[in-house]
């Protein structure tokens, strides 16, 4: 059995930190090899070394047994290595085809032969079952399709070894299923895959072997069939991890959020929320399940005042908050953990400390008569950072420099601390490792038990099933079903989300 890729004793340093220290990774021909580790363990760094974006300080890389120097992505391409990055490397304003051919365009008399390129894209997408619209602009297509474009990009360049960096973090369950199918097709076609994921279930499902790294050091490689999720988790974290979050049955009280006949349009004036009705009671977690793009984002934006309500009513504790400004909504008692933490949740160039008072800076004690009181602000920030275990060099560090997990913990700390009546949590654990997820889940349940209403939006069925006391399924802009987690299965939920109880999932 030969190795297609061997990374031997790799060391990669960043100023002040050793991201990879003596890591060895050996990938066999035709296998799906998992790379597992906590946030910041050094997985992406290792893969960027393999892809030629970073140069290692030490170590050797062999491709098909031959020692190579991968100085830049071009070299990696030539060696048949392709990478699907954690953050997509797609140009928003370009079409699918343009993105795929970028850098190695077919030419005709000095111009880009776009016709030929589109044909080639069609052909590849047929071959591997990667449905894309070659002429669509990236910004107009779903995240799932964007990912397929990323995969096509590597295949177009003739990649034999594909690296997937957290491909499932941004996908809906349906899309994850499709992706797993695609990976199997790729293996059948003779490719090898390195898969980075925090989801142990996926590793168990598709991977042959798994290499674990912890804090930049290689822990070892295990045969997946010979292990179980618990073992993997403890290898990764270095301690025992509990999975399903323990919680008492909910004790719902009065109605906190009541939505009646809500209609919302998106930026292009398309109706996204249509006649939606929903109630969330104090002391319960309502999970909002649904495939991305069924109006969930618009619903949340409408509740929080970020988007105009077309018609209908949103009531909080019996008072209308319809079309109030975000500030008034916040002050009325709503906290919002936004889906896109970089875009909405944080001012990345502010110190983390100042980010902790993003909605409350104008209140005492953080300011008085319009003048900021930094001492109070930073005292508050320090307390929150401690309580929520946000790992940062100091409160004065810019938010930008924190890892995603720690940024998320900071946001949750800030939002929960305001003692709101309603917490809206949109994908609060996206891209986080199991340790961080565990922590955040515990916090949300704690808040529920304190009598707050929680509206949880998630594309992870696991999370919905584990956390919710009641599940509202959203499809086509309205709530099509409400179920209790104990009365349903993931299967049934999947069907509901696809808009049909009868048909098999995937038929949309």
């Amino acid at each position: 059995m030969s190795y297609v890729i061997e990374m031997l004793n790799i060391r990669k340093e960043f100023p002040g930190i050793v991201a990879n220290d003596n890591i060895t990774l050996q990938v066999k021909q035709g296998e799906i090899h998992a790379l597992l580790g906590e946030n910041g363990a050094g997985k992406s760094t290792l893969m960027n070394v393999l892809f030629g974006l970073y140069q290692p300080e030490k170590g050797e890389i062999k491709v098909r047994g031959e020692s190579v120097k991968i100085t830049d992505p071009n070299v990696a391409n030539r060696l048949g290595i392709g990478m699907v990055h954690q953050h997509f490397m797609l140009v928003d304003t370009f079409t699918v085809t343009e993105n795929i051919i970028l850098g190695s365009e077919p030419r005709k008399k000095g111009t880009v032969d776009i016709k030929k390129a589109e044909k080639e894209v069609e052909r590849l997408s047929q071959l591997y079952g990667l449905r894309v619209d070659p002429k669509a602009k990236i910004r107009d297509i779903s995240v799932g399709m964007q990912q397929r474009v990323e995969i096509l990009k590597t295949l177009y360049r003739g990649a034999e070894i594909l690296i997937f960096d957290e491909p499932t973090a941004v996908l809906t369950p349906q899309e994850i299923k499709e992706l797993i199918e695609i990976m199997r097709v790729l293996i059948r076609e003779g490719k090898s895959i390195i898969l980075i994921t925090h989801k142990l279930k996926e590793i168990m499902q598709v991977c042959d072997r798994c290499t674990v790294i912890r804090k930049g050091e290689g822990i070892g490689t295990v045969n997946v069939p010979d292990t179980n999720p618990n073992e993997l988790a403890s290898l990764m974290v270095g301690r025992e991890v509990t999975f399903s979050t323990e919680k008492q049955p909910a004790q719902p009280k009065e109605v906190t959020l009541a939505i009646q006949d809500l209609n919302v349009k998106d930026a292009r004036h398309v109706d996204m929320v249509k006649g939606l009705n929903l109630k969330v009671n104090a002391g319960e977690i309502v999970g909002l399940a649904g495939v991305d793009g069924n109006g969930q984002s618009e619903l949340i934006e409408a509740i929080t005042g970020l988007r105009k309500v077309d018609s209908g009513e949103v009531m909080l504790n019996g008072k209308s908050i319809t079309n109030l400004t975000p500030r008034k909504v916040t002050e009325a008692g709503i906290s919002h953990i936004p889906q896109d933490r970089h875009r909405f949740g944080l001012v990345l160039d502010f110190p983390i400390g100042e980010n902790m008072v993003l909605q409350t800076y104008h209140h005492e004690p953080f300011s008085k008569k319009g003048v900021l009181r930094y001492k109070e602000i930073y005292n508050k920030a320090k307390a929150l950072i401690e309580e929520y275990d946000v790992r940062t060099p100091s409160v004065y560090t810019k938010a930008r420099a924190l890892s995603g997990g720690n940024q998320q913990k900071a946001i949750i700390g800030r939002e929960v601390d305001r003692s709101p009546d309603l917490i809206i949590a949109a994908q609060p654990t996206r891209g986080l490792d199991v340790g961080a997820i565990e922590f955040i889940h515990k916090k949300l349940i704690e808040e529920r038990d304190k009598g707050r209403a929680v509206l949880l939006l998630s594309f992870e069925l696991d999370e919905i099933m584990n956390l919710s006391d009641r599940i509202a399924v959203m499809f086509g802009g309205s709530i099509v079903a409400e179920v209790k987690p104990e009365d349903t299965t993931e299967q049934e939920l999947g069907l509901l989300m696809a808009g049909s109880k009868q048909q098999k999932a995937g038929g949309q």
């Binding site: 400004t325 916040t330 502010f350 909605q359 319009g370 900021l372």
Partner: protein, 348 residues
């Protein structure tokens, strides 16, 4: 060997040094004696109390126009319209100076206020268009510069004076000039405006760093979406930012109108106070203290340069080259930082 703080102080100093060095090489290359050249520059700026006074006078509007550009920058806006706002502030201060008859305690503040308001008004429109329609502030402010120039000329000629090329001189009651400062500096035109400029720098620092309003302005400058999410009114902050920036620029105009000159004239072209303000702001890292220091450097070089052709035969333009190089080196601080880091490593 070098702490981070030290590096931050060293970079501008090294940049100034390198800029002067380039200037020296150019002088050498064209057969001038750099020492004589720079000595005459020094003499021209600080040679005696008169020149010192004049240098400070020149620094005054630079501080304010620099603050104007910096304030907008800090809130994510590029105000190229400071030039036009300066002209309008200049005009307004003189107009109020001439139109009103009042004791100094009312008249002078009124004239200053008018300048700030006029500048603010000139900044308001680009701010409004940006906030409401998303129109790029760079184009609008460029256009507003020309409109200011021609409007001011027409008003001076047809409204404020009757058909003259410049207005009357403003009365003492509206003037920033100071017998005392003039006497102290052998009749330089140094005026009380310097105190206003320094005060304005303190105000800018205070607004941006110490108030909730400043918190909002900075936040909007960095991330509009997050600011909206946090309940801030993004549009209002954009407008406010341009208005405050314009007010600083208007004050810079007042420094000229009721400080240095005492009148407004029909202008054949721009004053360049606003355009130079861009360089001052950027050189000063868009921070209040930095702007003051950069304005001092700028004023010194500009005033000192006037002496170079007379006493060293070097064309004044040499100073423009030196200024350009200093800006260039400050901008390229990454290179200097990298170099210092390397020295640090080797030093160990």
């Amino acid at each position: 060997m070098f702490s981070n703080r030290l590096v931050n102080i060293l970079i501008p100093l090294i940049s100034v040094f390198l800029g002067l060095l380039v200037g020296a090489f150019i002088m050498l290359g064209f057969g001038y004696n750099p020492l004589t050249g720079y000595l005459s520059l020094w003499e021209g700026a600080f040679g005696d109390s008169y020149f010192f006074g004049e240098t400070l006078r020149q620094v005054t509007p630079y501080i304010l126009s620099g603050l104007a550009v910096a304030f907008a920058f800090r809130t994510g806006l590029f105000n190229i319209g400071v030039e036009g706002q300066v002209i309008m502030g200049w005009l307004a201060s003189v107009w109020v100076g001439l139109a009103i008859d009042a004791p100094m305690i009312i008249h002078l503040p009124l004239a200053i206020l008018a300048a700030a308001l006029a500048g603010a008004a000139w900044g308001f429109l680009p701010g409004l268009l940006k906030a409401k329609l998303g129109v790029h502030e760079v184009i609008v402010t460029i256009m507003m510069n020309y409109i200011a120039l021609y409007t001011s000329n027409a008003l001076v000629r047809n409204v404020i004076s009757d058909g003259q090329d410049r207005t009357e001189r403003i009365p003492e009651t509206a003037s920033l000039t100071s017998e005392w400062l003039a006497a102290l500096t052998q009749y330089s035109r140094l005026h009380y405006g310097l105190l206003i400029a320094l005060f304005a720098a303190a105000i800018m620092w205070f607004i941006l760093n110490q108030t909730t309003r400043g918190y909002e302005l900075r936040s909007v400058g960095f991330n509009q979406d997050a600011s909206r999410y946090a309940g801030m009114n993004v549009g209002r902050n954009i407008i406010l930012s341009m208005v405050i920036s314009g007010a600083f620029a208007g004050l810079a105009g007042a420094m000229e109108g009721i400080g240095t000159f005492g009148y407004q004239s029909v202008k054949g072209g721009f004053t360049n106070i606003g355009f130079d303000g861009i360089a001052v702001a950027l050189l000063g890292g868009n921070a209040a203290v930095g702007v003051v220091l950069a304005a001092i450097l700028f004023g010194t070089l500009k005033v000192g340069a006037l002496n170079m052709p007379t006493s060293a035969g070097v064309p004044t333009e040499l100073v423009d080259i030196v200024i350009a190089m200093i800006i260039f080196f400050v901008a390229s601080s990454y290179m200097i930082r990298w170099f210092l880091l390397k020295m640090k490593k080797e030093g160990k």
